[in-house]
Symmetry: C2
Subunit: 181 residues, 2 copies
DNA sequence: ATCTAATAGTTCCAAAAAAGAACTGACGCT
DNA sequence: AGCGTCAGTTCTTTTTTGGAACTATTAGAT
């Protein structure tokens, strides 16, 4: 399957990755969350090639994750800022940082501290259940197809067909399988 | 900069992405969390080429995210399972799913529901502060270099040098900049 | 008036990675 | 003997990156 077909899939992971699931895109977003806004600063900090940076910024703008706004005229210069939609990727970035702090740090530990302005303490992100507020791990969650999708499926939905190869016939249903462990 | 140099950087995002920041790797992990364990099932579900799948599984095993264990002899067959380290990527995957459910879903909404076994309700992941337990957004967090890293830096640490190009001189310090917004 | 610097790109070529399909090898079943 | 399963490997073509140089617009210095 080609990468551009990913967003066709009935899976929120696949669809999200069609926007941010790229080698460089998440590094660009990391810098956005650290306040970087300008082309050359992204380039300097990341060591990304200008060609690829141009492409990734353009895609993020197309998807509404960043907006390009002028910060001066004569000569016209533009910078890139996170939109609300972009800011909502913060949990993704925080989860990635936290895993890296725990599993990829050297003897010096985490390079950066995250301070919660509300309570004033260095914090790490904890994922909790939106219903009961308890912390969750992979083993606490079971997955089931949404009723709406099941209804559509039994009604013979075919909207998501058409991109299937001979080998691959499983994409008309939401991606599911047996639970973890 | 080349991609393989990413894990050299003093940034937990970069280091984590050196393991999972690949087009296909996160899709493989999604399937792992859905209970997929076998080579051909990954291939069938993802439409990934066998060559790339072999490579990604090997890398995930090298990084200790998956383990390969035999499930039969004669002929020997092996399957891939998440380790504890791998299971701890769950918050990353959940954050990605949640963003996709909110921003990339079509009129049918989220394809899958996540049920918290503890309380029995469909849930979405909420990121809270490990210290005070309040939900956080990007604007609630400020970032600062860790004291340990600052100490090392002023002591003239040079362990992370050596991969820098002429253009790119900023990697001896933890990646930081101005706060968001 | 010319030279240099800054910013945000574009263009070009070579190298690396991915897509797509066929092939391998160990075995089990009929 | 022939077919099927599984977990890969090999091969060729296409796409994407890396790396470096070039462009356009303006400000300020010589």
């Amino acid at each position: 399957m080609r990468w551009e077909e990913l967003d066709q899939q009935p899976c929120s992971v696949a669809r999200t990755l069609s926007v941010i699931g790229d080698r460089w895109t998440l590094m660009v977003l990391r810098d956005c969350f650290l306040g970087v806004r300008r082309f050359e600063e992204f380039e300097r900090r990341l060591g990304i090639t200008r060609h690829v940076l141009t492409d990734r910024l353009k895609k993020l703008v197309q998807h509404g994750v960043l907006v390009k706004k002028p910060y001066q005229d004569k000569p016209r210069r533009e910078e890139y800022r996170l939109t609300e939609k972009g800011l909502e990727l913060h949990p993704v970035v925080m989860a990635i940082v936290h895993w890296g702090d725990k599993h990829m740090a050297d003897e010096r530990g985490a390079p950066l501290l995250h301070v919660h302005k509300g309570c004033g303490h260095a914090m790490s992100p904890v994922t909790v259940c939106s219903h009961c507020g308890d912390p969750i791990t992979a083993r606490d969650i079971s997955v089931q197809p949404s009723p709406k999708w099941l209804a559509d499926e039994s009604a013979g939905a075919s909207a998501t067909r058409g991109h299937l190869t001979k080998r691959n016939k499983s994409y008309t249903k939401p991606c599911r399988a047996n639970p973890v462990q």
